[in-house]
Symmetry: C3
Subunit: 379 residues, 3 copies
Amino acid sequence: MHVALQQDVAPSELPSQQSQPAPRDLRRVDIHPDHWYPVAWSREVKRGKAHGVRFAGDPVVLVRTESGKAFALEDRCAHRQVPLHAGVVDGESIRCCYHGWTYDCTGRCIDVPYLGRERLPNGVRSYPCREEAGLIFIFPGDPLLAETTPFPALGSVGDKAYKTRRFGREVKCHYSFMHENLMDMNHQFLHRKQMGQMKARSVGRSRGEDWVEVNYTFAREEGKQPIGEALVFSQKRGTKPDDNNKDVMTIRTEYPYQTLRIRTKDQTMVMDLWIAYVPLDAEQRTNRTFGLLSIRRPKIPGILDAAWPLLVWFTERIFKEDRWIVEREQEAHDRQGADHNHEVFPVILELRSLLTECGAPVREPATERRVHMIQPISD
Amino acid sequence: MHVALQQDVAPSELPSQQSQPAPRDLRRVDIHPDHWYPVAWSREVKRGKAHGVRFAGDPVVLVRTESGKAFALEDRCAHRQVPLHAGVVDGESIRCCYHGWTYDCTGRCIDVPYLGRERLPNGVRSYPCREEAGLIFIFPGDPLLAETTPFPALGSVGDKAYKTRRFGREVKCHYSFMHENLMDMNHQFLHRKQMGQMKARSVGRSRGEDWVEVNYTFAREEGKQPIGEALVFSQKRGTKPDDNNKDVMTIRTEYPYQTLRIRTKDQTMVMDLWIAYVPLDAEQRTNRTFGLLSIRRPKIPGILDAAWPLLVWFTERIFKEDRWIVEREQEAHDRQGADHNHEVFPVILELRSLLTECGAPVREPATERRVHMIQPISD
Amino acid sequence: MHVALQQDVAPSELPSQQSQPAPRDLRRVDIHPDHWYPVAWSREVKRGKAHGVRFAGDPVVLVRTESGKAFALEDRCAHRQVPLHAGVVDGESIRCCYHGWTYDCTGRCIDVPYLGRERLPNGVRSYPCREEAGLIFIFPGDPLLAETTPFPALGSVGDKAYKTRRFGREVKCHYSFMHENLMDMNHQFLHRKQMGQMKARSVGRSRGEDWVEVNYTFAREEGKQPIGEALVFSQKRGTKPDDNNKDVMTIRTEYPYQTLRIRTKDQTMVMDLWIAYVPLDAEQRTNRTFGLLSIRRPKIPGILDAAWPLLVWFTERIFKEDRWIVEREQEAHDRQGADHNHEVFPVILELRSLLTECGAPVREPATERRVHMIQPISD
């Protein structure tokens, strides 16, 4: 992978929207399907139950069989197109609720109650499916690429030194607004009520073929440190009042995922966030966010657990403000019919070009896959 | 009328979707307007009141005059197009609520309060209208055909040997899904919670020019007979446990109506359902269902009346499940933009071809009928 | 200004819809932007706060600065297009809630916290803005015309001899339906429950280049005088029972505003209504109504104040009925896709032609104004 470490560059060297008008509106660039995407929390798919989700407009049923294994199929019965998630798990298969057509984990139709087994119709599409760290992932693109496509490293969720909060919900905007929101720390003004007046300073960015990364330091301009922030740093903070200026926040989009890590002066990672934004509708104007927020446990046992509800409350407030503003951005795009953003921050310009380049090729007019059917039976 | 009684035929003789792709998407075939359609229950149109309904997107006002007679007009005042159903019944006419323009039962404008009677504007469209068995019917097609078009036989609603339940409501799907749902008894699996595991066996079908009919027998595979079903059969059932296997259910679509009748071994009809599905919106993706469900009274007087609430509850549950699933079918059609059904059951293939053949010709681009107006008056 | 005083004319002299079909559907004629339009009540825009409104689809932020002055800008930050009304008033400027970009009353961007002041981006559009009689007006058209365009005379709102009620709300219809509703007093039938049976008689109309006016007298046909009406007239009414037949109501559309005045026999103006209908959405199928209803104070002090709640209740009822019916008219237009009105009243035909002639030219396909941005900064 080609990696270019960049120093801050002068405006004239930057790609400029005026001189080189982007050939595509980023807000209409579909996410690339040839990656592993989380589509549900494990706890949402109970044993012996089916659960319907969506990926970019495609209905997907997640089935947890009686043995506990999860699989993913197109969420439409081949017969009458009704959702399979309303069906009945039968051993290791799923039976449609309407006429009882039954499918195994590969999507093959293995039973039609009123039809001889020798004349079974074709089945439905299946998706490669993996379960990790309490998340169920599918591979919505070319299934032949699933095995060779790297599965994401899910932050510090597996490390006992950290406590992890799982969060996220549906947000009514294109995934690109989410990436830009998190990466542009100049938006601290939005969180002034929660965070006080913080001034972010970007101290270097770098870019590779499928990633872009930026480092920030922060200076408090006004107000005192919020308690939620104190929780994260308490165990690492020195006595000098400006020690917090030495913390470095690294935000990285490694397509299609994003991470945010905070390291103290001595390189201890005190916070590690892994997050993915998964398009729900065909137009990709909504996404479901799946976040794993890991906080390093302080040396005094139990203190983080005790303070956890406060941290949950604090992060929920921040996330709520972010959700509100990105939905306003999408709303403006919907009304203006095009991207009227006037971005001036080079990090974000870099990110936008990354998201455009890594995104799916221009969307073809929707065509539905057809499953061929067998000859009709006599009754 | 040409009638062809068919035996079960081999698949090769059947019309096949592959070899002869249907030239029209059945879900876009409008119902044929040259029939009598119920549009309201009689009790919904009170004496001296007007009531607004819709037929396939056309607003219709039903007026019950002070003498008790019902008539049907286009539900728009010729003047400002506001709904006449908000108006005032004045003797045998209806007066628009806005400026008081008044129409008689033929739709003729008979008064404009601020205009001389010699210069009255043209009126509004009227519909042939009949009231039978607690239902108000209109003839939405060519009014010249109304008189010669057979009025439907409304099951056993007029027979004292039966008790009839009137039911129905708005269902968000094309009427064709309703016909297919009722006629395909392989969907008993959907009602497994209400009915236990029943296996339907089709034992012969027949087809005429404007009708298709199928007979079923049933075998209970698991669970015990539900109480609602027991009510229907109690008086007729013999002592042998498999007597119910001798009951025959006949489902018939006689365009555009549908009936379901159950006869016991001795040919007693124990249940007689007449049902119609009336499109509400112009796209015909919603319908209002009007059902007359007649149950034969047992010999012991009063027992059916006593058990009636239970039967109401039971049939409501079944109808609710059916409504839910047909709305999912419509939803899939809306999302897929075409009919992706892979039907394998010959009865239903026959029914689909009937509904297509008997339906309205291809819809023309919407054009509104214009009523010519008189010269403006001086003030 | 050319003024033509017209006597009642014979139908043959009137413009006829048949012989000269209107080249434009009035319901699609946009209101002309080169006028002063109220967009909010003063009390809605508190000191040190911002308030978002809309004019014909364009979002507008009204800002009341710390000194109490109001100004109006496009309600979108030049940067990310999010609404400025969610921002923070900072002295005499408004700061966007997201990244803190700051604009003065002319729309100029005067601060981007993370950008040098010498490289500030262009700002946002500003609107000429005036505050009168508790209303905030903007001039949405060509700002060069604002100063020379006459500001409307706001009825008797400034006259101590009158008490004024401010009222209005959002109505889901094109503004033209509002003008026609108020001007056609034959619609008294709609208010029969509030007003009893009144018969309006038009007694002369006149027309100028940008206005049309009609006079009415009224005769009570049935029922007694409603109490709300009595309030208005009590102090002026003589003892003869038919004195009220001598009152004259004058309704005038002086583009784009409307007035309704009632004068008694001795020419005392007992009621003076000024009203404006301001389109909210781009299609102009909704409007917000701003009304100033001034009632002449009777000689006995305090009597009008005591009866005020009754008058509020009475006018709210009337306005509610009018709102309901004009929304039905818009609904019919939406469904019919064109104007099917068959108007027979010459006053209204005149008004329709006025509204068409004074309206905006045919709408061009929506194009968004672009603010040029500066070169991106380095970080």
